[in-house]
């Protein structure tokens, strides 16, 4: 019957999403019993659209679009408070990481756009210099996010105090570092 097959395929897609997230994160999301301890201690919970336990629940239910387009996956500061306290010993940051990667690679819009913009600027900075060139990163990030011009008060702390090296770092072996980063990109695409 037609309706059954639609239901089946929906169920399959949901289960597949859960299975992929579990496989890639190495975390058994399905054993989360929704105690809410992660959310109770989350320092950023007040600013999130979904609380960490709700993210876990949506993954269990396979609600891919909802979870990959939420702000929470970007606002999570990877502080590890939740993982330290989770009675089921779920490493929630590893789940968040997989969700962030899926969200980016599958082109979901982010309600907290500045975070992925910063993450890409940071990685590109490393590819170029091997070490963080703070002054360069600030420049690129501000350009891409349109920040400084909007609100000078939001500049990173070291810039506010002008406590920042102006010259880029010099690292020998950058050829090798770039090759490694390229290898990783290629391995990911396989």
């Amino acid at each position: 019957m037609k309706s059954t097959s639609v239901a089946d395929s929906t169920k399959t897609a949901s289960t597949q999403f859960l299975e992929r997230v579990e496989e890639q994160s190495g975390q058994k999301v399905r054993i989360c019993y929704q105690c809410g301890k992660c959310s109770a201690g989350c320092p950023v919970g007040y600013a999130m659209d979904l609380l960490p336990n709700q993210v876990m629940r949506l993954v269990q239910l396979g609600l891919k679009d909802e979870v990959l387009s939420c702000a929470t996956i970007w606002l999570c500061a990877s502080c590890e408070t939740c993982a330290t306290r989770c009675p089921r010993e779920i490493e929630i940051v590893k789940v968040m990481d997989v969700l962030r990667q899926k969200s980016r690679r599958e082109g979901y819009p982010s309600p907290a756009r500045e975070v992925p913009v910063f993450v890409s600027a940071f990685i590109n900075n490393l590819k170029r210099f091997g070490r963080l060139y703070e002054a360069g990163l600030v420049g690129v990030y501000n350009l891409l996010s349109g920040h400084i011009t909007k609100d000078m008060d939001k500049a990173p702390a070291m810039l506010l105090k002008r406590k920042i090296a102006l010259m880029p770092p010099r690292v020998k072996g950058m050829g090798k570092v770039r090759k490694i980063m390229k290898n990783i990109e290629e391995m990911r695409q396989q």
């Binding site: 320092p43 600013a47 606002l75 590890e80 408070t81 980016r104 975070v115 070490r131 963080l132 570092v177």
Partner: protein, 291 residues
């Protein structure tokens, strides 16, 4: 003991006084440090956010460089570097597939075996040794110190395996060993928002503001930290936090190595105390500390 020193990116730029005070403190403690030549960034939070393998392979690259040096391990000073270097060792030791992938990416195998220590761990070891008290030449008695640990130095415990994740004591014990007074406060392991320092400034101002407010409410004279990212949020951004939250803080924030250096008799200039947004010298003098 000799260590391969991994300063990390911040110590080369916005946290130079942490590097200087670490080198001075290490010398006084009899630790020999040799910087890893051509170490690269650990990737911090952005690397593991964008790719798990990248988050492990970047620190593994520097650990491999350190392996070629004849030392007792790697010494780090940043909580984020510490967490990433240890996470790399942990993943490579416990996950055979990851170990293979790292070898493929680096073009060289790494066994995950180079020990990674935070300067605070080594300092904690040192204060337990006989003769430590003799190094103290400047009295810090009467100074009330709030020890701020933040996140990644103590969490997750399977990775760092260092101190208690909910109520750590190593900095507090150091404060007491130096003759100063550790204060009991509520925010010692709360997050300052470092991962969002560029991209979600409002969140950082709130989280860091609450930490500083609690230190002030507890009547701490200074806060000490063991991470350049925490310092950047708590000190460099403090005026901005005051303005944004409409509060008055004026809480000096020192690196624990600066406090150690003070006790060992180094000058304010040698320890870079003048590089901070909130000048700690007036409160230190008020407590009768001779600088």
């Amino acid at each position: 003991m000799k260590f391969a020193f991994y300063p990390g990116c911040s110590l080369e730029s916005s946290a130079k006084e942490y590097k200087e005070s670490t080198l001075l403190a290490a010398e006084s403690l009899g630790l020999e440090l040799e910087e890893i030549p051509d170490w690269i960034c650990c990737g911090s939070t952005p690397a593991h956010m964008s790719d798990e393998l990248l988050g492990i392979a970047l620190p593994a690259y520097s650990l491999l460089l350190a392996k070629q040096m004849d030392t007792d391990g790697v010494l780090v000073t940043c909580a984020s570097c510490y967490s990433r270097l240890k996470a790399a060792n942990h993943a490579i030791l416990n996950d055979g597939t990851m170990k293979k992938k790292v070898a493929e990416a680096l073009g060289e195998e790494y066994d995950g075996g180079v020990p990674v220590r935070h300067m605070l761990e080594l300092t904690s070891d040192a204060i337990a040794q006989p003769g430590f008290d003799e190094k103290i030449t400047r009295k810090l008695s009467g100074l009330k110190v709030a020890s701020y640990y933040g996140c990644l130095l103590v969490r997750p415990p399977e990775i760092t395996g260092f101190d208690d994740p909910e109520d750590p004591q190593s900095l507090d014990r150091l404060v007491a060993a130096l003759g100063a007074e550790p204060v009991d406060w509520r925010y010692k392991v709360e997050c300052c928002g470092a991962a969002l320092a560029f991209s979600q400034v409002d969140i950082v101002r709130k989280l860091s503001g609450e930490i500083l407010q609690d230190a002030k409410d507890t009547e701490a004279d200074v806060v000490i930290v063991a991470c350049p990212l925490c310092h950047s949020n708590l000190d460099l951004r403090q005026r901005n936090i005051e303005k944004y939250l409409g509060i008055d803080l004026e809480v000096p924030v020192l690196y624990f190595t600066q406090l150690l250096g003070l006790a060992f008799g180094y000058s304010a200039a040698e320890l870079g105390l003048g590089k901070h947004e909130i000048n700690p010298v007036p409160v230190l003098r008020k407590r009768g500390i001779n600088i």
